[in-house]
């Protein structure tokens, strides 16, 4: 089965019902729908075997979908000429090690039909951008993994793409390099380019992504801006030193009224500190609680505005709400209706 239908609504990537079943009846993707908007950095995350790489490969025509309705840059997914406007850095790229860094850029840009003069000019600029100018004439076999990754990033940008698809771009890159790559991504976004980022490093995604999608066992578990996805988790946490005393009646009533709760801090359950959690990110609503606590003589040691991290969202997405256990890594076999979870002792 191999079906393509084009749809478009202004999104750079607009996917509906993308499915992929590999031989051996492994269902890698089970009806993916996803939109990536122009000029944003979109993060794709998910556990191992969730189907992230398969989805990226379908977009890049490396893998043929079993079913796919959707567009990329306004053309049906799989439309080869459109790839001239797309830059791609795969996971663990392997460039011929007999080529120099400069030759890699030139060769792959030529494959993208970039004229020679533009190749020369772009290579010069991009080598400078990724800090590889001094290494441009050396063969890849003498490069470290991080250096290869930098060349790979430059390669993905050689055709001055409208959409850049990066699969684990910071893999093997040192912290300084990661920061530089993040800066490059932000710079590209400022130029109006759209970036589709697939990474395991949630903290990095959180730093640069405008929107994310979490893929679990071939399905989109959630997608949206990080603000939207974390809205429900936003709260204030107030730490007070109780020294064995209870919170006063007035303050307790206010906390209950706001749907809050009290208890020892999660990371120090045996301390003499109590953490009051108020499920709101509205600062004025919390003021009466603080006033009441102070009036009752409580010693406030900390007030924090808290929201769930991307890691929290990720863990929530990959955890079975019924059993509380993480789903087992890997794709779903054809015929299975519910994803398996990890064994008890895992």
């Amino acid at each position: 089965m191999h079906a393509h239908k084009a749809t478009t609504n202004g999104a750079v990537i607009d996917l509906h019902g993308v499915e992929k079943t590999y031989r051996g009846r492994v269902r890698a993707l089970r009806g993916i729908s996803m939109q990536v908007h122009p000029g944003e950095i979109f993060g794709l995350l998910g556990p191992n075997g969730a189907g992230k790489s398969t989805l990226v490969k379908i977009l890049m025509t490396v893998v043929r979908p079993s079913a796919c309705e959707g567009t990329m840059l306004g053309a049906p997914v799989g439309h080869k000429p459109t790839l001239a406007r797309v830059g791609y850095l795969p996971e663990n790229p392997r460039y011929p090690d007999y080529l120099t860094g400069g030759q890699v850029l030139d060769t792959y840009a030529a494959l993208a039909n970039v004229p020679r003069e533009r190749r020369r000019k772009n290579a010069e600029e991009l080598l400078r951008l990724v800090g590889m100018t001094d290494w441009a004439g050396k063969r890849l076999r003498s490069y470290s993994k991080g250096m290869k990754q930098r060349i790979g990033l430059a390669q993905a940008l050689m055709n001055d793409p409208d959409l850049v698809v990066l699969d684990e771009p910071t893999d093997g890159v040192d912290p300084v390099g990661r920061r530089e790559i993040r800066e490059v991504l932000v710079q590209m976004r400022a130029q109006g380019k759209t970036i589709f980022l697939n990474s395991h490093l949630l903290s990095e995604l959180e730093m640069v992504c405008d929107r994310v999608a979490i893929l679990v066992q071939g399905q989109v578990s959630s997608q949206g801006t990080i603000e939207d996805l974390t809205r429900e988790s936003r709260r204030y946490e107030i730490d007070i030193e109780t020294n064995g005393k209870n919170v006063g009646e007035r303050a307790a009533g206010l906390i209950r009224g706001l749907g809050g709760r009290m208890g020892p801090p999660p990371n120090a359950p045996a301390s003499h500190v109590t953490t009051i959690t108020v499920p709101t990110d509205d600062a004025p609503s919390v003021q009466p609680v603080i006033d009441a606590l102070r009036a009752e003589g409580a010693l406030i040691t900390g007030v924090r505005r808290v929201r769930a991290s991307l890691e929290d969202l990720f863990m929530q997405a990959v955890t079975d709400p019924e059993s509380g256990r993480a789903y087992a890594p890997g794709a779903v076999k054809n015929g299975d209706t519910t994803p398996p979870t990890t064994p008890e002792d895992a």
Partner: protein, 408 residues
């Protein structure tokens, strides 16, 4: 065009990066040097640039046999042994990993993500892979061209036909290598399959050659027996000729009984000759059937030996002395004497016991080889290359189909 050029340039860079390419080139240089070291003087053959001389006046400078030997060394030894065997194995070892490496994860992704049709990538990559052999043979032929030019004073541009012919020969094997490489993505497996295929081809082609040799030999023997029978019949007819018979009997010392016995023996010899001719024909027909079967098989397989053989055909035109003449010791053996026709009226009346008996039939290997060579020369080049190219196209088409449809 930018894309095609980029793939070809990449293939060229890959070629230069292969140590085996340079090793093969170095050995080729040595082979050319050894070839160029052979020369001809007034006394015979000089070796190692004149360090020693083999006295052989029949191969003296300027003779037809000296040309036959020099060109023959190239077409009969250097091409089939070095270029079409050792260098081909080295080329296969060197190029067997091209497709599996190209299709490995991380490498293929970047290429397929370009605005480039997979079939185009596949075929241009294939052409680029043939550069290994094309460049090797090209450089080699330049050396041989100058060697032949300086040694024989013959600037034979036809020599460069070796470049496309050997590249084609190599491509008939390499397409199988590519198919196996695309199927299993393993260079070792692809090399093994190619070697097995080459060996199978060798067996089939050798069997076909053997069948050709046997059927030709048997056909020629049948012809020879027929000719013998005809000459005996001729003799018998003359013996029975009333115009001469009486006089001959009168002049011979044989008794009429002995003469009758002689005629009877002659009739028995004729019957035997005819029987043997029939037997040979039947035997040839039996082998012809097998030859036909193997030939049918070869119609769908590449004719690697035939492809290489075209070079000899083009470099040594029909009628010119070739390696066969050189190996026969410098000249073809004298043709067997014609059966006595006794056209001389004097002989017709010679006494019977004085009349020379016709020679018994015999066919030597030189005659058979010459006949086979002549027959092979009659086969047009398109009949040799056509089925081979169709085979290559089919195998490549299959490999390309798998490549285009595969998920990486």
């Amino acid at each position: 065009m930018i894309q095609t050029w980029a793939i070809l340039v990449d293939s060229y860079r890959l070629l230069l990066a292969k140590k085996l390419f340079w090793a093969t080139l170095a050995i080729s240089a040595l082979v050319v040097l050894a070839f160029a070291s052979i020369g001809f003087t007034e006394d015979g053959i000089s070796i190692f640039f004149g360090v020693t001389t083999l006295e052989a006046p029949e191969f003296a400078k300027g003779t037809a046999l000296s040309r036959a030997l020099y060109v023959g060394i190239f077409t009969s030894f250097i091409v089939p042994i070095w270029l079409a065997w050792v260098a081909t194995i080295l080329a296969l070892v060197s190029t067997t990993t091209i497709y599996p490496d190209f299709m490995s994860e991380g490498a293929i992704d970047v290429v397929l993500a370009k605005p480039l049709h997979r079939a185009k990538v596949f075929f241009v990559k294939y052409l680029g892979s043939l550069l290994f052999v094309f460049a090797q043979v090209g450089i080699f032929c330049v050396g041989v061209f100058f060697a032949i030019g300086f040694r024989l004073g013959e600037w034979n541009w036809m020599l460069f036909a070796a470049v496309p012919l050997i590249t084609l020969f190599y491509s008939f094997l390499y397409c199988v290598n590519v198919l196996a490489g695309v199927l299993w993505r393993s260079g070792i497996a692809a090399l093994l399959v190619t070697m097995l295929f080459w060996f199978a081809l060798f067996i089939v082609q050798t069997s076909e050659n053997a069948m050709v040799q046997i059927t030709t030999q048997h056909r020629m023997e049948a012809e020879s027996h027929d000719a013998w029978a005809a000459s005996l019949e001729n003799r018998l007819e003359r013996m029975r000729n009333p115009a001469t018979f009486g006089e001959r009997i009168a002049r011979t010392a044989l008794t009429p009984e002995a003469q009758a016995e002689r005629i009877e023996r002659l009739e028995a010899d004729i019957a035997t000759a005819r029987e043997r001719a029939e037997d040979r024909r039947a035997s040839a027909a039996g082998f012809e059937k097998w030859r036909g079967r193997i030939g049918a098989m070869m119609n769908v397989l590449p004719r690697t030996q035939g492809t290489i053989g075209l070079l000899e055909r083009w470099l040594i035109p029909k009628g010119q002395a070739g390696m066969l003449e050189v190996m026969m010791g410098g000249a073809p053996p004298p043709p067997p004497p014609e059966p006595a026709q006794n056209d001389d009226p004097g002989l017709d009346v010679a006494p019977l016991e004085l009349e020379a008996a016709p020679p018994r039939p015999s066919v030597d290997s030189y005659e058979v080889s010459t006949r086979i060579q002549d027959e092979l020369r009659e086969i047009p080049a398109w009949r040799v290359l056509g089925p081979s190219l169709l085979f290559e196209l089919f195998v490549l088409g299959l490999a390309c189909w798998i490549f285009v449809r595969r998920d990486f």
